[in-house]
Symmetry: C2
Subunit: 202 residues, 2 copies
Amino acid sequence: MSVAHPGGSADALGRLIEALRLLPGVGVKSAQRMAYHLLQHERDAALRLAQALDDAVHQVRHCERCHTFTEQPVCSTCLDPLRDARQLCVVETPADQAAVERTGSYKGLYFVLMGRLSPLDGIGVHDIGLPALLQRVTEGGVQEVIVATNFTAEGEVTAHAISQALQRSGVKVTRLARGVPIGSELEYVDLGTIAHALSDRR
Amino acid sequence: MSVAHPGGSADALGRLIEALRLLPGVGVKSAQRMAYHLLQHERDAALRLAQALDDAVHQVRHCERCHTFTEQPVCSTCLDPLRDARQLCVVETPADQAAVERTGSYKGLYFVLMGRLSPLDGIGVHDIGLPALLQRVTEGGVQEVIVATNFTAEGEVTAHAISQALQRSGVKVTRLARGVPIGSELEYVDLGTIAHALSDRR
């Protein structure tokens, strides 16, 4: 789709709009709005964003142990001697890791898949680092793998593949509990969740 | 609002997320998702975006005649000898200018306010370049000013201020016609629009 700009500014402005469209969830209208806003009101912010993009691309890499984003070879969580190395929480993304971390109730280590199994999109066990996870677990020390992939179809398939792969490792594999979210009214909770909450009642 | 990242990557990644939040319509969740997406899948795109931002900030300026975005002192539309200099279409933003331009049915020149009157936000006549518009019109050559500000409360106030200001210039001031949009069913069109369409029937 071409982005025409009357006024002859198609070059730099057009390139900016095209580049903004590469952001997830940004269509041509939003990209236009963003570009105009930055150029009209926030030129300093635009330069800061340019610098931040450049810095992040060149400095952020994956932790060698847990695969999360970090600027060091091994991230500070993996290096933290106060974390319980016997527990390994497997999450799909750094955002999920941040969510678990924010609860303040988990003191073990993480393994970030950086994705989920999705055969339809051609994402297989190697793409999500399942072999690396197996190696990480069999290297010893880990006693429990807590599978915290999302409770979506793909997350469940991924969880299943992980527990299958770990079956012969002798490590205990657990899954986050399913149940009724805090603050919700039963009337509006879906039936599958209520059924799970019933069978997992305590 | 702080953006914590387990894994010790708070620096470059945190700065990127903070910078992305400065884009209009992007909250902390979207900024996180964008940052993770760029770093995980689109590092080339991130570098292209950084370059495009830098280029645009340094190369894009305002046309001296119509105030739209351009890389030259005067934009190509203003310099185009085939455009009818007797007509001047006043729009709020380059996006509005692009919309008028896409119709292919206007061959005059433009004046881009780069905003609208909004007393509540402290945006007055000088912020939208009304004096510059007056000067542009009185410099001669312009026979008709077509006010194409938006049909919002602020756009209407702006339109009113423009026609007031031009009253003594002797220039004809017209406004885009209000009416029923093409493809719409009367049943779903608001009453004010129908009333306008009735009184402006032809």
